[in-house]
């Protein structure tokens, strides 16, 4: 993958493209975090709709997930601790995709809850597809990152 890195370093247009992708992921995570942090109680109910965790874990997740998304978003936006942030982006997107997939398999008619109550009626299929695209982007950012 060092060839990806060298190719990006030598071509400014790719460097700008990479920067844009990183800022886009940062903005998405910041938006997701803020919309959930506005009303953690409401977000807890959205997590509960997945019927995957007992209430205590659901309540803890409703404050922990937006906090982690916020930290990851700030880190990516500032370009500090980028590698660590990308690790979390990959982990979070994988967990979210797993939850969405399980809801689809169980036939649950629920809302994604990805952006709190700010964007509703998204269902679960499109958010799953979006997450898989974001995972691919994260993979690109990971392999093309500056390893200093």
């Amino acid at each position: 993958m060092s060839t990806v890195n060298q190719s990006i370093a030598s071509r400014p247009i790719l460097r700008i493209g990479r920067w844009l992708l990183r800022v886009a992921i940062a903005a998405l995570f910041l938006f997701a975090a803020i919309t959930k942090l506005i009303d953690p109680s409401s977000f807890a109910q959205q997590i509960a709709n997945y019927q995957l965790t007992p209430w205590l874990a659901t309540a803890v997740l409703s404050v922990f997930l937006p906090a982690l998304e916020l930290c990851v978003g700030i880190s990516l936006l500032l370009g500090r601790w980028e590698s660590g942030a990308l690790v979390w982006v990959a982990i979070l997107l994988t967990i979210f995709s797993g939850a969405l997939l399980s809801a689809i398999v169980r036939g649950l008619s629920i809302d994604c809850g990805c952006f709190g109550r700010s964007i509703e009626n998204t269902g679960t299929l499109w958010p799953l597809i979006r997450n898989l695209v974001l995972l691919a982007v994260t993979g690109f950012l990971w392999f093309s990152r500056d390893k200093k």
Binding site: S41, W55, A59, V60, A67, E82
Partner: protein
């Protein structure tokens, strides 16, 4: 610093932020007891609606065939396409719809109620305790 060390630091900061949110946020969730859903009703709450309720049985067709609340309609995810038109035939706008399933642990009534609401049936509720609760209060 390695990626894992960075990830660890991000985690630590996030835990601190989550702790602060849990401690002071005015809209923090209750951590020990789940909040009551505003669409959940008890049998006592449904009493004043007598004559204006359409009961929806979200259990399986075999359970419905075995016994059900008088005049209830069978409607679940498996038979939705066939039964939803029949439900609409029985439903009068303005009527309250109360969905029930087997017992408190069963989530189907909540899901069917949510699906009915998203289908435009606004006054939809689900019964706390489900069929077990109804049976207990209506024993001969």
């Amino acid at each position: 610093m390695t990626a894992l060390q960075q990830a660890g630091l991000i985690l630590l900061i996030a835990v601190g932020l989550a702790g602060a949110t849990a401690a002071v946020h005015p809209k923090r969730p209750p951590f020990l007891v789940p909040p009551r859903d505003s669409n959940e009703v008890t049998l006592a709450q449904t009493k004043p609606w007598a004559g204006n309720i359409l009961w929806v049985d979200a259990r399986s067709e075999s359970e419905f065939a075995s016994e059900h609340i008088p005049d209830a309609v069978c409607l679940n995810f498996e038979n939705w396409n066939e039964q939803f038109p029949k439900f609409l035939d029985r439903y009068n706008p303005g009527q309250r719809v109360v969905v029930y399933c087997s017992a408190t642990s069963c989530q189907l009534s909540r899901e069917i109620a949510a699906k009915l609401k998203s289908s435009g049936v606004d006054e939809t509720y689900f019964l706390e305790g489900g069929w077990e609760a109804w049976k207990q209060q209506n024993r001969p």
